[in-house]
């Protein structure tokens, strides 16, 4: 009985109480527990407005059918999806009524049956009390000093636990946050890139900022599907089962970035790894560390700090990191370092993706628009001051347009504006590293010595980091500019006569990263594209495969192996796990023991029916399958009856 509630309201409370607390095992229902007897304790202390509301509500609920009461609370549970003020009313009902029921049921019992059933054993006693328990102190784990490389891997591996537990969609939300942060802070990032590399603001904007945003957006949009478990075909011989591929995290990936695109080559592989659920230890180039920037951006995108560990240092630090046995290494850089890494990890069989150097060819046939091809050539060879692994480093021009192409190119190149700009108003900037300046100087001097003519940039002193565009004519096969990676704003021009010669010249290189083929005849361009020993081909464009986040990136020969970017590239950051699901049953599989002469005969019949090119083979297969299955199960039972030998 209640003094504060009418019998109707009390009945309403019991009814709604039993909907919310219907009982479960040794936990009784609301009404059976008798807890409603305490209701006055609650009502007396309520604000009058709240009490009136509750009383009214309980009176109404008394006359609602149970399904409607359930519906009401289901609706209240989904209030977040409701518009205000309906949502507010639902919240009031939920907190008011559910609160009352839960308080009475879980908070008002005298005997302690509910708390006992829940295992709730909270108590406070004086020392020496008979109820006192004895609790032993639990010391804290001691933190030992560890070298930075060890610590970085320890943290990144620890970070794996939350990252891999998140759904792909949840991980993509973090990449979305990163995209927003990069977009918002782009000018600051460009400042930092420019400080470390000396490239122009436009180079930084177009290749690094835009490229990063484009890849992040691709991952957000396409990554969820690319990483979703996939049902695969199950052949008829495995009837009744289902086959899947799961795209699971690899663990902790070591990403080592080069100095030419310090932002792009950091963020894109890291983002791919994060999308696929792997944490990252990242080592930037000691030439372009962008110190502190990435940590800051990842924190702003609210990555858990352990997900990406950044370790600064030179090759020796890199070797220490490699020695920590990452689950995979993603290396972009020189062929020499790539080989050293591969040698270091060989005993541990650590998978390595190598994005190495290139000596990329541009093949220009005589049916092209010379102005467009020359403009593409200038950009492809000079962007980022020629310090791209896919820079155009060899230009093969069909003899019929060679001179025209050369003069248009020289004209365009002479109009190039070079400085480390503050406002985006410069085409090319400076070289990043002194050692690379020396290599460029050596290549140019070698060409000159061997008789090539320098058409532009001859005034360069061989030392300044602001190397002007250098167009070289009369290039021979034995010159360094034709064979080795120059990695500077140097454009060697070489004429060719026919398609076969162009292919031969282009393929005559230890490298095989990308190439471009220019011809109005698409059949021919594609034919040449197929014949080139490279990882990517742009047709009638230059460095364009890299611009599409959906296309995988990587090379052949000395340019490395493995692919990243795109769906194929995303899977390179996964453990692609094959899964076959069968049902639990008594049945024995036909290929399991025992093997008998009879089974051999039946299996042969099945094999022939399945693989022989005959009509009606399906029916024969079905019959053979039935026979084999029946026999296999019988044979298995029979064998169990015979005593073990």
């Amino acid at each position: 009985m209640s003094a504060a509630l009418s019998s109707t309201q009390l009945a309403g409370l019991q009814k709604v109480g039993d909907v919310l607390i219907p009982g479960d095992g040794n936990l009784r229902s609301f009404s059976a527990s008798g807890c409603a007897a305490n209701v006055d304790v609650m009502l007396v202390h309520m604000n009058p407005e709240d009490r009136d509301g509750i009383q009214l509500l309980l009176g109404v609920l008394r006359f609602l059918p149970r399904f409607a009461v359930r519906g009401l609370f289901r609706l209240a549970g989904a209030q977040q999806k409701m518009p205000e003020p309906l949502a507010a009313v639902l919240r009031q009902i939920n907190i008011g009524v559910k609160g009352m029921v839960m308080t009475l049921y879980y908070g008002a019992e005298e005997g302690g049956a509910v708390q006992h059933a829940l295992g709730w054993d909270a108590q406070v006693v004086e020392p020496g009390s008979p109820q006192a328990r004895r609790v032993e102190p639990l010391p804290l784990p001691e933190a030992a000093e560890r070298p930075p490389a060890v610590l970085a891997f320890e943290r990144a591996r620890a970070g794996q636990r939350s990252l891999r537990a998140l759904s792909v969609r949840e991980r993509m939300r973090y990449l979305g946050a990163l995209r927003e942060v990069v977009l918002e802070r782009r000018e600051e990032i460009i400042d930092r890139i420019q400080q470390d590399t000396g490239k122009t603001r436009s180079d930084a904007l177009i290749s690094e900022i835009f490229g990063v945003l484009d890849n992040l957006a691709w991952l957000e949009k396409r990554g969820v599907k690319a990483l979703a478990e996939r049902k695969q075909h199950t052949p008829i011989a495995l009837m009744g089962k289902t086959s899947w591929t799961w795209y699971e995290p690899l663990g902790t990936i070591l990403v080592i970035a080069p100095w030419n695109y310090p932002f792009y080559q950091a963020v894109v592989p890291i983002a791919c790894a994060i999308a696929a659920g792997s944490t990252v230890v990242f080592k930037p180039s000691e030439w372009t560390p962008l110190r502190g920037l990435l940590e800051d951006l990842f924190a702003a995108a609210r990555f858990a700090p352990n997900w990406v560990q950044i370790v600064y240092g030179d090759g020796a630090v890199g070797a220490e990191l490699v020695a920590q046995r990452p689950d995979k290494i993603f290396f972009t850089g020189s062929t020499r370092t790539g080989k050293a890494i591969l040698a270091q990890v060989a005993p541990d069989l650590i998978p390595v993706e190598l994005e190495l150097g290139g000596k990329d060819a541009m093949i220009v046939f005589d049916d092209v628009d010379v102005e467009r091809a020359a403009a593409g050539c200038a950009w492809g060879a000079l962007t980022t001051t020629g310090q791209s692994c896919t820079s155009v480093e060899r230009v093969y021009v069909q003899r019929g347009i060679y001179e025209a192409f050369r003069s248009v190119l020289v004209d365009r190149v002479q109009r190039i504006k070079q400085e480390i700009d503050r406002n985006g108003d410069a085409d090319i900037g400076a070289m990043t590293a002194d050692f690379q300046v020396k290599i460029v100087a050596r290549h140019v001097a070698d060409a000159k010595e061997k008789g090539a003519s320098i058409l532009t940039g001859d005034a360069w002193d061989g030392q300044s980091k602001l190397i002007p565009p250098i167009v070289i004519d009369g290039v021979r096969d034995d010159m360094l500019v034709a064979r080795e990676e120059t990695f500077g704003p140097v454009i060697p021009l070489i004429p060719f006569d026919d398609e076969a010669e162009a292919i031969r010249l282009a393929n005559d290189s230890p490298y095989g990263l990308t190439a471009s083929v220019w011809s109005r005849d698409l059949q021919r361009a594609k034919r040449v594209g197929h014949a080139l020993e490279v990882g990517g081909v742009s047709i009638n464009n230059v460095m364009a495969t890299e611009a599409n986040p959906a296309l995988p990136f990587g090379g052949v020969k000395q340019s490395g192996y493995g692919r990243y970017k795109g769906e194929h590239g995303l899977h390179a950051f996964c453990n692609v796990k094959s899964v076959l699901i069968d049902k639990d049953a008594k049945k024995i599989e036909a290929n399991w023991y025992p093997y008998t002469e009879e089974k051999y005969r039946l299996f042969t019949a099945l094999t022939r029916s399945l693989f022989a090119a005959r009509r009606l083979s399906l029916i024969q297969f079905a019959l053979a399958g039935l026979r084999l299955e029946r026999y296999s199960n019988r044979a298995a039972r029979d064998r169990q009856k015979t005593p073990p030998s």
Partner: protein, 468 residues
């Protein structure tokens, strides 16, 4: 009927601020009466069942909802106020908090260096200890380990407590409705005890309903335990009924027109608890209720903090979404739950009004920035719980506000603030306040320590004023 006694100061509210101010005033020989709406419990009489605790120890019979019911406000009502029901966590404010207070209020002495001596004085009056990490429960271990696994930073909490005897298996969660062994440094066993010993007159179960300035003094009237109306008079009035209590009383007393900012600038550090369900027992109900707090510069910069918390069964039942058998099955896992909450340093001020029946109406909503802060916190919680092996993580169904701050905010501008830098209300030289109602904005740090320090600082001035 009314009484004719005349006091140096009438203090409304026997919570943390009232107790600290009163202790200083009576210590200086001033004659004080303290009026408190709640009951005067001791360690033997604290309510032990949750239904009683919720009903008796809080205004509104447990919770009061904001106008759109998005936030459940928890407002203690007892002699000792928040110090009876809180976790007694003590943190000094950092520069970030004080800087934004100065900026908001225009008051230069709101700074760490000005407050440090007062924090130190508080530490002379109550026992302050680091919660012993070696007695951390499974919930604290999840918190610590989850922070470690994700690279977030946490630190052990500091609390106003004596010896909680964790070696006896004591569970501080019990003390949310009063500490049965008087280890928690609640006001009635510390500062208020000393004030009473020095002559403070304490009237409990007395709800003040009206205050007036009368001649040189103040007149305070309200409803006594027996239902009669009683009036107290004094030279000064100290308002220490908290953000909602003070604002409500002043609004009921018709001060709205004299104090245009009254009831505004209300903040709560909205708190959102998430639960992780584990295969192995966690026993969050055992041992110290809380051991760690987030101590992460990134969290602080982003305007939230995480706390290692839990709640008794009724509150857990309110957090767990849904109803019926599914709800009961989840409740059965109560000893296998870990719980972490995010407390938002809210930027969107709320507003306190009163209904025609005298009940407070609180308008308080999150803006986009506050929601962003909450979401960031919940993301971090998810990482922590998942990394430590939670099978399932659910966000609690209700949000709570229990750091109730503002409504009578400090400031130099009488048009935009209520309380002057001298801790009296603008234009009302003998009505003082130094509790959480005077906070200029949300500091994002537990307010208790600063309420204590500020009350000592204010009491110093009040004593000087009353002696002059």
């Amino acid at each position: 009927m009314s009484e004719s006694k005349f006091y140096d100061a009438v203090i409304v509210g026997a919570g943390v601020s009232g107790s600290f101010v009163a202790n200083e005033l009576v210590g200086a020989g001033l004659r004080c009466v303290m009026l408190e709406a709640g009951k005067d419990f001791d360690r033997h009489t604290y309510p032990r069942r949750e239904v009683d605790a919720n009903s008796v120890l809080y205004w509104g019979g447990g919770v009061e909802l904001t106008k759109d019911a998005a936030l459940a406000l928890i407002r203690p009502k007892a002699v000792g106020g928040g110090s009876i029901v809180n976790q007694a966590l003590l943190d000094r404010f950092d520069d970030l908090a004080f800087d934004s207070w100065r900026e908001q209020s225009g008051i230069p002495f709101l700074s760490r260096s000005d407050f440090d001596p007062w924090y130190d004085k508080v530490a002379e009056r109550i026992s302050i200890r680091k919660i012993p990490e070696e007695y951390r429960n499974g919930n604290a271990e999840v918190f610590r380990r989850g922070f470690e696994l994700n690279g977030y930073r946490c630190a052990p909490l500091v609390r106003a407590q004596g010896d909680c005897h964790f070696e006896c298996g004591n569970s501080c969660i019990v003390c949310l409705s009063g500490c049965p062994i008087d280890s928690k440094q609640s006001m009635p066993v510390t500062v208020l005890k000393s004030a009473r010993a020095n002559g403070l007159e304490l009237i409990s179960e007395f709800e003040v309903l009206r205050v007036e300035q009368r001649g040189d003094g103040v007149e305070v009237s309200g409803r006594a335990a027996d239902g009669s109306t009683v009036t107290y008079r004094g030279r000064a009035l100290i308002l220490a009924a908290g953000a909602i209590g003070n604002s409500r009383l002043l609004l009921l007393s018709g001060f709205a027109s004299r104090l245009p900012a009254l009831g505004q600038n209300f903040y709560t550090h909205p708190q959102y608890m998430s639960l992780g369900f584990y295969d192995q027992p966690i026993h969050a109900q055992r041992g110290p209720l809380q051991t760690y707090k987030s101590d992460d510069a990134g969290f602080r910069r982003n305007g939230f903090k995480l706390e290692n918390v839990f709640a008794p069964p009724v509150s857990v039942a309110m957090l767990v979404p849904g109803f019926g058998v599914a709800h009961m099955k989840r409740m059965r896992k109560i000893t296998h739950m870990a719980c972490i909450e995010v407390a938002v340093r809210d930027t969107n001020p709320g507003r306190i009004r009163v209904s025609s029946r005298g009940t407070p109406i609180v308008e308080k909503q999150l803006n986009d920035e506050d929601r962003r802060r909450r979401d960031l916190g919940q993301d971090a919680i998810r990482n922590i719980l998942l990394s430590t092996g939670a099978r399932e993580v659910i966000d609690g169904e209700i949000a709570i506000g229990l750091h109730l701050m503002g409504g009578c905010n400090l400031g130099t501008d009488p048009g935009r603030s209520v309380t002057s830098p001298e801790f009296h209300l603008h234009g009302l030289g003998n009505i003082y306040a130094a509790d959480s109602s005077v906070f200029p904005n949300a500091p994002g740090i537990n307010p208790s320590f600063t309420i204590m320090a500020m009350s000592l600082l204010a009491a110093d001035r009040i004593v000087r004023d009353l002696r002059a």
